[in-house]
Symmetry: C2
Subunit: 115 residues, 2 copies
DNA sequence: TTGGTATATACGTGTCAAGGAATATATGAG
DNA sequence: CTCATATATTCCTTGACACGTATATACCAA
């Protein structure tokens, strides 16, 4: 279990990460919100921490976990390779739809010129 | 193995996907470029095809595989949740670095004003 | 038909990680 | 100290899946 991809392959870990977007959370808070046994939460948090997705601050008996950005950027960079590819397709779809159903004259979202 | 995340957790599958960015490829071409046994290539391609990451066109005995965009967009949407979070951090880091080591007067990349 | 090339599938095996249960460690309160 | 709360760790079992080998299927050529 080394790559960022393997880490986020696990659904419960993704759930934890999403929870932490809003704000830092203690283990107990995560446990309650996700209705997950506490040892399971701790184990997933350990994986996330060792992988660099989160970090923990000590607060008395509690540990407050929060996101760290680096690994997300790494994922984003991999995806970026494909972005040019799929945006080509979005453009093609847009052109197609525009032909079927021409865009209205709205000032707000100027449509990209064809060619 | 249902989610897009599980599909791309496998390194060989990511390698195949990256290969296909440039252009469509036959199974044999992938096999040679990745130095991977042919049955392994076929099996990973099956997973990728059933998951909607690629599609195959028949060309005589060969199958030409190419990328499909939808699942990539799905991954991107998940990552997007975190983008606002990590860009906050990039900004903070930039401000920090600027304080340590003030930016030169270069016309090309105007630095964002602090506050 | 036979043979050759290209790709897919089936089967057996080993590894690895997720999950559950029990227990350990740490900190605070009284 | 003792008890309670919060979190971490250990042990075990089980299932999934990646891989290798062998074989099957598909298509073309002669």
């Amino acid at each position: 279990m080394e790559t960022a991809f393997e880490i986020i392959a696990e659904p419960n870990r993704r759930a934890i990460l999403s929870l932490l977007i809003t704000s830092q959370q203690s283990v107990g808070e995560i446990e309650r919100q996700l209705r997950m046994p506490q040892p399971m939460v701790s184990k997933h948090l350990r994986v996330l921490r060792e992988a660099g997705f989160v970090e923990a601050k000590v607060d008395a008996q509690r540990r407050l976990y929060q996101l760290k950005p680096e690994r997300f950027q790494e994922l984003d960079e991999w995806l970026a390779q494909f972005r040019r590819f799929w945006s080509r397709h979005v453009d093609a779809l847009e052109r197609h739809l525009d032909r079927i159903h021409p865009p209205e004259e709205t000032k707000k979202k100027p449509r990209r010129r064809i060619q």
